[in-house]
C-alpha cells in the first residue's frame, strides 16, 4: 500500500461526492421521473451552493464581498477546493467584473447522457455556481442563458458572468 498524497485524497473525495450526487439523481429518476428529479436536483444543489460559498468565504477570512477584487480570490479558493482534475474545467477573468468559465468536457453531461435523459436535463453545475453568487447577494447577468445542457445542444459549454457592484 502506498501513502495517499493530499492531491489524491482530494480527488477521491470529489469523485466520490460527484458519484454520490449522480446516484441520488439516478435513483430519483427511477422513482419519480425526470421532471421531479430535475426539480429536486436543482433545489438540493442550490441550497448546498448557497451554504458552501459562505463556508469558503469564512474559511478564507472574507467578511463581505463588495468589489470584484474581493470576489476574485473567493472564486479562486472555491474552484481550488471544489474542482477535481476529471472535471476538465477552466476559468478566467478576461476583464473587469467578468468571470468566464469553460468546459472542454463535462462529467455531468457524460453521466446524464449515459442514463438517457440528456435532452431533458437541466444543468445542476451552473445552478450551483449561480447559487454562490445569489448566496453572496451579488448582482450579475449570464451569457448565454441556458437552462438545459449546452454541451448537448452546442457541443461545447461556456458562460460569461458579468457582475455589477455598487462600490
Amino acid at each position: 500500500m502506498k501513502a495517499l498524497k493530499r492531491k489524491e485524497l482530494k480527488e477521491i473525495l470529489i469523485k466520490n461526492w460527484m458519484t454520490h450526487d449522480a446516484m441520488w439523481f439516478y435513483n430519483c429518476l427511477q422513482e419519480c421521473g425526470i421532471e421531479k428529479t430535475n426539480k429536486i436536483n436543482k433545489a438540493a444543489v442550490r441550497a448546498m451552493g448557497m451554504i458552501e460559498i459562505q463556508r469558503i468565504r469564512k474559511a478564507v477570512g472574507l467578511t463581505k464581498v463588495e468589489t470584484f477584487e474581493e470576489l476574485k480570490p473567493l472564486i479562486d479558493a472555491a474552484f481550488d477546493i471544489l474542482t477535481g482534475d476529471f472535471m476538465d474545467f477552466t476559468y478566467s477573468f478576461p476583464s473587469e467584473n467578468i468571470l468566464h468559465g469553460e468546459w472542454k468536457n463535462c462529467f455531468a453531461y457524460n453521466g446524464i447522457k449515459q442514463i438517457g435523459v440528456i435532452d431533458q436535463y437541466q444543468c445542476g453545475i451552473m445552478e450551483r455556481i449561480y447559487a454562490w453568487f445569489d448566496g453572496l447577494g451579488l448582482k450579475y447577468s449570464v451569457s448565454p442563458r441556458v437552462d438545459g445542457c449546452m454541451m448537448h445542444t452546442d457541443g461545447k459549454c461556456f458562460r460569461d458572468i458579468t457582475f455589477s457592484f455598487d462600490k
Binding site: M1, K2, L4, R6, E8, L9, K10, E11, I12, L13, I14, K15, N16, W17, T19, H20, D21, M23, W24, Y26, N27, C28, E31, C32, K36, K39, I40, N41, A43, A44, V45, A47, M48, I51, E52, R55, I56, A59, V60, G61, L62, T63, K64, E66, T67, E69, E70, K72, P73, A77, D80, I81, L82
Partner: protein
C-alpha cells in the same frame, strides 16, 4: 475591505470538502422529502447508500494501491484508512479485531445520529450503516455479513457493528 490572499491548508480543504459533501447529501434528502414524502426519500437514501458504498471502497483501494484483503488485519487496516477519510471528525469510534473472521466497529458518537437528532427525526429515521458497510464488503469482493442490531430510534448515537467475513 481589501482583498485577502489566504492560503488554506490541505487539511482545512479536506474538512470543507467532506462537510460540504455531507451537506449536499442532506439537501438531496431534504428536498426529496419535501417533494416525495419521508418514506420515498428514505427509500431513495438507502438505495443511494447501497450504490455509493461499493464505489467508496473501490476508489480508495485503487488510489491507495491497497492490494488484496487477505485477512482480518488487512480489513482493519483498510477501514482505519477509510473511516477518517469518509467520516467527519465528530464521528468517534474504535475498531478491534475480535477473531480471525470478525471485526468490530464500535461507534461511540455517531455523526449521523447527531444530525438526525438536530432535525428531530430519530424516531422515524432509518440507519443506513449496515447497508453502507455491506456495500463496502461487496465493493471489496469479500464474502461476509454486517451485523448491527440497532436503528436510529434506539441507538442513542452508539452501536456495535460486526463485520463477519468468510475467508
Amino acid at each position: 475591505m481589501t482583498a485577502k490572499k489566504v492560503k488554506l491548508t490541505p487539511k482545512q480543504k479536506e474538512k470543507l470538502l467532506r462537510n460540504i459533501w455531507l451537506l449536499h447529501d442532506g439537501r438531496w434528502f431534504l428536498k426529496s422529502t419535501m417533494l416525495l414524502g419521508f418514506d420515498a426519500a428514505t427509500k431513495l437514501n438507502l438505495e443511494v447508500v447501497e450504490s455509493i458504498g461499493k464505489t467508496e471502497m473501490k476508489q480508495l483501494v485503487a488510489e491507495a494501491d491497497f492490494g488484496e484483503i487477505k485477512n482480518i488485519e488487512d480489513l482493519k487496516a483498510l477501514i482505519e484508512l477509510a473511516a477518517p477519510l469518509y467520516f467527519p471528525p465528530e464521528h468517534k469510534y474504535e475498531i478491534q479485531v475480535i477473531d480471525d473472521n470478525t471485526l468490530l466497529g464500535r461507534v461511540l458518537e455517531c455523526y449521523v445520529y447527531q444530525m438526525v437528532s438536530k432535525a428531530g427525526t430519530t424516531e422515524i429515521h432509518q440507519c443506513a450503516a449496515k447497508i453502507r458497510f455491506e456495500s463496502w464488503l461487496k465493493g471489496l469482493g469479500l464474502n461476509g455479513e454486517v451485523i448491527n442490531e440497532k436503528n436510529t430510534n434506539n441507538c442513542n448515537g452508539t452501536c456495535d457493528i460486526f463485520f463477519k467475513i468468510n475467508w
